[in-house]
Symmetry: C3
Subunit: 265 residues, 3 copies
């Protein structure tokens, strides 16, 4: 099946199955990521207590770990949830490279858990292999092109873990096969949490598509298309965010066929 | 006085008195619940530290407890606030039934505190009496009809505590007298925290109307009407949420008289 | 240079330099404050762990401390970040006066750290010198006029710290020189976190303008103008908030020249 047809089919599956996506994520984006998942058709739950993550993840079809607004207790919960997960695990190393704590935690989670998909911006991904790479807070100071080779080598190092580097173009690889997605809109970085919402979206697609490389590529394409749809209707970040949430709900076959820019490379 | 006229009068009281509603609620909805309360005319405050909940609740006209994104420390704070409350206490057992931790905490709070109103979806309410009932994350997998008898028996067990079961229709009972509300809109479950915002709204109405059964029924009717008003203006979840917040502000006598579907049963 | 021209120039600097503003702020407003900063052109980061605040603040051009939803651990993090800050520190004593814990914490931070700008509503500022002043939750029960003399005396007591009292009119002083800003819109208090977002905005202006009294005055004027621009487009709190975020992005020379009401007094 053609990759675009498969995306349309998998999006439909999300809307029919409403997979439960368990998020252990940061305080800034909890509300937004929940709305992202709800609007596209998935069923989000946020739970981080050591007392319940094991039970919650047992119900989930995907586990999304996000290290923004990190605290030691949350890392323990992420590890406990991850160790007990029977579903794909998506890791967003928010701000890795900005502080040693975030970089070390990202590496710790990569080493302690079997991460299915690692998704970050170029600076975050580069920080995982280089002491020199730095991040300005949570925003990337590198281009995706800078990170392609590193992404491939990380994917190989972790036995075919999917690595997705997001930016103007997105690069998604398992170390051998790769996709490039060119969807997206310049207003997206002006809304907080849109990167985190993409990670949650990868979770939703991995919940319905067991080829996780493909699922991750599809998620990037769908999410970027929704950004473009929002950009057709809104000029400024406040309205853009609302139109983006709307688009996650109405975007379907027509919009995807019109706008998708996703290719195997 | 007719129940609809009483609702209009009590809503007016909220807008005049601006009652302080103290929320100990989950991270996902804090911002949204605060905006729900502000827009309708109440005055929200969020405070959860053991160091200040006793002082804060002493200023409040209602206390709203919500167990989403639960942690042990927060349970202690809920109990401390509840023990010191001189005002009505509203409990939202978010996700009760999904994990033992949430179910047990809901029961603990019901037993340790004099809860005035318990408000949840059908799965959450059922979980409080049955080991079999399960919840899919925080979304209901049962209909309100399944929960009516259980709601009545819980209300009686807790000496006339108000129990409200929300869904397509809402059922509100003190075990003897009951109301049914049929307001609401299908987009409401696609915005995160709308259930939690309803619980906060019950708090606002209980702050101005001492017949708590009536206050709870009024809150459900008002909230559902605002959902319908939003649905008249918006087709998708992002815009719907904004129009819903708007409606909480402008909804008044005309809208309530036109749309209210609330009856004693 | 004229003060309005300087505001236009400093806003332009924010948009060019995109200063990193490190926020240790409350759960209610984290998402909103991040969007406020992003939309105007700054680069927000939220980080509160004792394990990383020292590293994060070393990258920042401003540190914003906000005591809403306070907890002991967060106070320690605020002190650690503040002690290590090489940049201006802005303090928002949210709800000071409502509980002893908040009032004491505000005083503790003022005494332990070299605060550059203190920004609050009249009740919050008054609470810092008077046992009698009280706050209703987080909303002011005093007018700015009540607080002018107190603001001046606090500014002097803390060696020329800038004190900003926000309300219908805003009053900004270093104890000797003062500004009055009359921009703003009546819907602003109906959106949660708009005060906190103003504090974050003061951080962004202090990051690019070393005359911190001027920077604080400029921030209030810019922020109030954006409120007025939003009020030209929206009648209710939900839409108002979206239009406000939009305005932070598009407000420039034309809007500022048309609407600014800022004067040295």
């Amino acid at each position: 099946m053609d990759i675009i047809d498969q995306l349309i089919k998998d999006l439909e599956s999300i809307r029919i199955k409403k997979p439960l996506v368990h998020n252990i994520t940061n305080f800034v984006v909890m509300n937004h990521s929940a709305n992202v998942l709800l609007s596209m058709g998935a069923s989000p739950v946020m739970a981080h207590s050591l007392r319940e993550v094991q039970d919650m993840v047992s119900l989930a079809s995907a586990l999304v770990l996000n290290i923004g607004t990190l605290e030691p207790k949350w890392i323990k919960a992420m590890i406990k949830a991850g160790k007990n997960a029977k579903c794909p695990i998506i890791l967003d190393p928010v701000g890795s490279g900005a502080t040693p704590y975030r970089t070390e935690t990202s590496k710790l989670l990569l080493n302690k858990l079997k991460i299915t998909v690692l998704r970050g911006n170029a600076s975050e991904i580069l920080s995982l292999v280089s002491e020199k790479a730095t991040t300005k807070g949570v925003d990337s100071v590198h281009s995706v092109d800078d990170a392609i080779d590193i992404a491939k080598s990380i994917a190989k190092e972790y036995n075919g873990m999917i690595v997705a580097v997001s930016g103007k173009d997105d690069f998604i690889t398992d170390g051998i096969n790769s996709y490039k997605c060119s969807n997206g809109h310049p207003l997206m970085p002006l809304v907080t949490g849109l990167g985190c919402g993409l990670t949650a979206t990868v979770g939703a697609f991995c919940a319905v598509q067991k080829n996780y490389l493909l699922a991750t590529a599809e998620a990037h394409c769908f999410y970027g298309i929704c950004g473009e749809l929002a950009g057709e209707k809104a000029k400024y970040p406040g309205s853009f965010n609302i139109e983006f949430i709307n688009a996650l709900n109405y975007c379907g076959e027509n919009e995807i066929k019109r706008l998708a820019k996703l290719e195997a490379i």
